[in-house]
């Protein structure tokens, strides 16, 4: 897991909801050059290299406590592999 991120794109498809809007704001703040696209019912967030979701950033934008486990309620699909998922952050990237 210590390998540097590849430049291939990774991404997540999220349900279009209030919580997701806060999540996307947090993702945009923590991941420069992220691309956000809207599809019916969905928000698609993609980025070259890796995508990081940080608990602190999400809590700040939601204005309440948020555990990384809660990400399961928003995620519809993803591409890449989940390289890390602990109490503070989730990292999605390709391994090799």
């Amino acid at each position: 897991m210590s390998t540097a991120p590849t430049t291939r794109r990774v991404g997540v498809d999220l349900q279009d909801s209030e919580d997701t809007h806060a999540l996307v704001e947090a993702i945009e703040a923590d991941n420069p050059d992220v691309e956000v696209a809207h599809m019916p019912g969905l928000i698609r967030v993609t980025k070259a290299g890796q995508l990081v979701i940080r608990r602190d950033s999400v809590q700040e934008r939601m204005g309440r406590d948020w555990e990384t486990h809660e990400f399961q309620l928003n995620i519809v699909s993803y591409f890449g592999t989940i390289a890390e998922w602990d109490d503070d952050k989730i990292i999605i990237k390709w391994e090799h």
Binding site: R8, R9, P40, H69, L73, S77, G80, I82
Partner: protein, 504 residues
């Protein structure tokens, strides 16, 4: 006492609850994980990035269910069945609910089996959670069926139809192929190939289509199910990498399964291609665009370079799938259109705007090859001869789809392959399906082919009304042309009533 971290909770509540049997040989406790030739040296190397524990699993699943049932209730209270773009949309949903609901139940059963029979506690628990998820999906889909079944035809007998009707034998035989394989092939087929490699082509466009067409109930069960799917995807890709890392001897076995299950899954998804391009009154993405985005970009450019590290190459017959993206949906919808007199859904000719959308989405193929077909169908319909194919088609022995696909790149020649086995002749739609049969002929000679079964007298009789009665399809209501269907008549009546109410 300080709160435990996710990592500690996972290790205490999931991994540490396991023990090594000492009175009984582990090979007796786990008898099914050796015969496929897969070598596992260290089951503890299995990583679950979700670090699921039973308490957090229950907490979040309960929350998902609460949200879902609140929406289904408001759907019923708010006359949700009237909010669709058009009643025609329901036919796409019928294929989905008839075909997928029983697969969810089969998945529930098989993951339960894995939850007992895999040697490692990590994958066993992941499989147990997935088993419960799949049962939840079955239930939520049945609740959605029950909402629509009050107002629309064709959904009243979905589980019986799944076991009998010709087009439903396509998903049924696909899944039964997977559950009759060993546990590792099942993980490669369903968890990896279906749930990771191909899932986005099934669920994401379909749920966005539901959202775009005012189908709140489907969108909600779909997204609720899909939120579990990310865990299933992780199990799938995790399983694959685990198997590849455990022993180099596993690589060629996995490659073979990947080749097989890519093609099996891809052929199954041809039904989705037809639904996306033809059965959604409001479209947002063509099959071709979905294939390029979700398969070529995300999987071929993203995943496969990752798998190359282990010595895995892109799946066999991929080139044909890429060639077919320009025309597959047209061929399959034509099949559904011409055989819908024997199906539990209605079809109709695309309207003028839709034909133009198809031309724009398929500039290289549609106007030359498929628009003339629809023009001809329209002339026939206008003269009172709505076209249905009279007769029974030849089916592919592997995917069970009638012969409708053409030679790759040649849209005028139907592709048929054949092979001899034990003195009998078998037919296939493609090199991919023939290759799959030739690997395991003893398995596929046992296929329950709907057409053969009708000829053998096992389907209620020799005439269409007799077979339809045996299928549980109400002739004249569930099947045939949409424009003259009871669904269309009810819809027009409801809409007229709503307009009268509004103008009062």
């Amino acid at each position: 006492m300080a709160k435990l971290s996710m990592r500690e909770r996972y290790s205490l509540l999931t991994r540490d609850l396991d023990w090594t049997p000492t009175y009984v040989d582990p090979k007796v406790v786990y008898p099914y994980t050796r015969y496929e030739g897969i070598k596992i040296h260290d089951w503890d190397a299995w990583e679950d990035p979700f670090r699921l524990t039973v308490d957090s699993y229950c907490k979040y699943q309960a929350e998902k269910d609460k949200k879902l049932y609140a929406v289904i209730e408001s759907f019923a209270q708010g006359q949700g069945h009237l909010h669709l773009t058009d009643a025609r949309y329901i036919n796409a949903l019928k294929i989905f609910l008839q075909g997928v609901t029983p697969l969810e139940y089969a998945a529930h059963r098989h993951f339960e089996y894995l939850a007992r029979h895999l040697d490692g506690p990590g994958p066993r628990f992941a499989a147990l959670c997935q088993s419960i998820d799949e049962l939840r999906h079955t239930q939520t889909e049945i609740h959605t069926i029950s909402q629509y079944n009050k107002y629309y035809s064709g959904l009243h007998s979905w589980s019986k139809m799944f076991d009998r009707v010709w087009y439903l034998s396509v998903p049924k035989s696909f899944f039964e192929d997977a559950i009759t394989a060993g546990p590792f092939e099942f993980l490669t087929s369903i968890s990896f190939s279906f749930e990771y490699l191909l899932t986005n082509l099934l669920f994401v466009p379909f749920m966005s289509g539901a959202s775009f067409n005012g189908d709140l109930a489907t969108m909600t069960f779909g997204f609720s199910a899909q939120s579990d799917e990310s865990r299933h995807m992780t199990l799938g890709v995790g399983a694959l990498k685990f198997l590849l890392e455990q022993d180099e001897a596993n690589v060629p076995i996995i490659q073979d399964w990947l080749d097989k299950w890519f093609w099996r899954g891809y052929r199954l998804l041809s039904l989705v291609a037809a639904m996306m391009d033809y059965m959604l009154p409001k479209r947002f993405m063509s099959w071709k665009e979905a294939f390029e985005l979700y398969f070529e970009e995300q999987m071929m450019n993203g995943l496969f370079p990752d798998l190359e590290y282990y010595g895995i190459r892109p799946p066999r017959h991929l080139e044909q799938a890429i060639t077919e993206k320009d025309y597959m949906s047209h061929q399959v919808y034509w099949l559904l259109y011409t055989f819908s007199h024997a199906a539990s859904f209605n079809t109709t000719i695309p309207g003028p705007d839709e034909l133009d959308w198809l031309s724009a989405s398929y500039p290289d193929t549609f106007d030359r090859h498929y628009r003339p077909l629809w023009d001809r169908a329209q002339r026939l319909a206008d003269s009172g001869h709505r076209f249905f194919f009279r007769g029974l088609p030849t089916l592919c022995q592997t995917c069970q789809i009638p012969m409708t696909f053409t030679e790759p790149g040649d849209m005028d020649t139907i592709s048929i392959r054949g092979t001899e086995f034990r003195g009998e002749h078998f037919n296939f739609c493609s090199d991919g399906c023939k290759w799959i049969f030739d690997r395991e002929p003893e398995k596929y000679v046992q296929a329950w082919l709907p057409v053969h079964q009708i000829y053998q007298g096992n389907c209620g009789g020799a005439t269409i009304p007799e077979v339809l009665a045996w299928y549980g399809i109400q002739n004249g209501a569930d099947n045939g042309e949409y424009l003259t269907s009871p669904d269309k008549a009810s819809w027009d009546q409801w809409k007229a009533a709503a307009q009268m109410g509004a103008s009062r």
